[in-house]
Amino acid sequence: MGRLLAVGVLGACLAAPLSADAQTGSITGTVTTKAAAPRPLRVTIDQRICGDELPDESIVVGAGGALAHAVVTLTGIKAGAAGAAPVVMNEKCRFVPRVQVVRPNVEMTTSSRDPVLHTTQAQLLDGSTLFNVALPIPGITIRRPVGSARVVRLGCNTHPWMRGWMIVTDEVAAVTGADGRFTLAGVPPGTYELRVWHETLQGAPQKVTVAAGTTAQAAFVLQ
């Protein structure tokens, strides 16, 4: 319904990719949660490289419940030109970044800084595998296509705790930082549906109205 409403309000504006100018506004806000951060993971493999314990990044909560690694998407609005090609680094037995927004039909790069074998297995949520590549040597760089819009989960077959996410979308989207904040700039005036994704928590979509030259506010509370 929200998507239909947005289409009705914006009309032909939706056909053009989003770009920032004086005729646009922006949306900023926060994503918070009352969920507690999980306890650190105890590492039992490759401690020389990975350390004895690692933070469980499935929920990263900051001051005031600020939630990192949430993705806020502006439904129905195409993003502008693609930026830099997405990169996932295997570093100290973590995927860095853990969560990123990726445009459809681009190639992602996976690389490693660890002197230990990592693999990057990219899977869809139905469990099917897009690709699985081995990174046995530090500095190796491997490129693979990410395909169409969808959520892609990254895992490492030798370090089961490693998790990464690529939100493949051609819509305007942003990932929250450690402060739980996000900003979507260059939004044409109109009423939109904002939806939020997080790997373990959930939140309801919200309506937001944007006027030219203004910044609309939104706040999500996930549980």
Binding site: T44, P115, T120, F131, N132, I137, T158, P160
Partner: protein
């Protein structure tokens, strides 16, 4: 196919191990990268598995020897799904050279400590008539339709093959037939002569140069000869079967005698078959185009044929061909022949 080749990944165990900066030899790479999942000895038995599927046991020679090097190389370079195996086996093709990948295949082959197992490089595609020299665990359905003198005969043979030890194999073949009567009467339907057989690999080249096997088939008089369904006497059929590769071409041949217990009921014969074939790709689901020269005493025929692997695991295959007489056309007739093959110890569907 490789049953459960899983992740070529990992270090030697879950314990803390000093790790070389960059392993440089295949054994070092195995220990540093592969042994996490496959274990240092290749058994796949690890104390702390990090994957969900159970790796195959490379120390089991019955598992480690039957597949050709090409299948292993594909699995290592392109990952398990390329040959229908687990997606938890990653692709190493971006990280290793072709020579390193071949080195891993040799390393894995060496985990089978028993001598005498013929390598899978000698496991050539099954021709329609020529007996394979390589022993198999297969179930094969062979439909055959003959047109002779304006009459049609249909035969449907079910063959079960099972390996015995390192080099042996036994099989049983049960034919069901529908034959036109010679006198123009009613068609005869029913069981034909059941074959039982054994086969043994007499010689196999260590590097896949060639293979020679000997075998004996015995056709039991289970089909009613009065209705044209059998010979009415036992027929003993000793044979030699051989195979090699010349460049990219498979060459397989068979020479067989058919020695009936009662020559009044079944004439003795010499049967000879030769097959030439070539794959169109290196994957298990490739098309293979081939032709056979088929002879029985003075009758000669050719059988152009095509074979297709039906799954990426190579567990299913099918072939179709037409046996065309080169002489004595009326006696031989034309036969439409084929088979559906199931390697019943292999997974049919690709793993995730």
């Amino acid at each position: 196919m490789l049953p459960t080749l899983v992740l070529l990944a990992g270090v030697m165990s879950g314990a803390v191990q000093p790790q070389p900066a960059v392993p440089s030899t295949i054994p070092e790479m195995w220990d540093a990268w592969c042994a996490r999942c496959h274990a240092p000895d290749g058994s796949g038995r690890v104390a702390e598995p990090t994957i969900s599927v159970e790796p195959m046991d490379f120390t089991d020679c019955a598992v480690a020897t039957p597949e050709p090097d090409a299948d292993w190389e594909i699995a290592i370079a392109a990952g398990g799904p390329a040959v229908g195996l687990s997606a938890e086996m990653p692709a190493f093709g971006d990280a290793l050279t072709t020579e390193q990948i071949r080195g891993f295949v040799r390393h894995i082959r060496g985990m089978c400590r028993e001598s005498g197992w013929p390598l899978g490089n000698l496991n050539f595609p099954l021709p329609i008539f020529t007996e394979k020299a390589y022993p198999e665990n297969e179930f094969v359905l062979k439909p055959r339709l003959s047109r002779r003198d304006g009459r049609s005969d249909l035969e449907f043979v079910s063959v079960y093959e099972r390996r015995l030890g390192r080099r042996g194999m036994w099989e049983v073949a049960v034919p069901l037939a529908s034959h036109a009567a010679d006198d123009g009467g009613a068609r005869a339907h029913g069981l034909g002569d059941v074959d039982i057989a054994v086969k043994y690999v007499l010689a196999a080249g260590a590097e896949g140069a060639g293979i020679l096997s000997g075998g004996l088939e015995v056709a039991l008089p289970t089909g009613r000869d009065s209705r044209g369904l059998g010979h009415g006497t036992a027929v003993f059929e000793p044979y030699l079967a051989a195979g090699t590769m010349i460049g990219d071409v498979y060459v397989q041949a068979q020479l067989k005698g058919e020695l009936s217990a009662d020559r009044a009921k079944a004439a003795r014969a010499v049967v000879y078959n030769m097959y030439l074939g070539r794959d169109t790709a290196v994957t298990p689901d490739t098309w293979t185009i081939g032709i056979e020269l088929n002879g029985e005493n003075r009758e000669l025929a050719v059988t152009p044929q095509i074979r297709k692997g039906l799954t990426r695991t190579g567990a299913l295959g099918a072939a179709f061909g037409v046996r065309i007489p080169l002489n004595r056309r009326e006696e031989q007739g034309t036969r439409w022949v084929g088979y559906l093959l199931w390697e019943y110890l292999e997974p049919v569907l690709p793993r995730r």
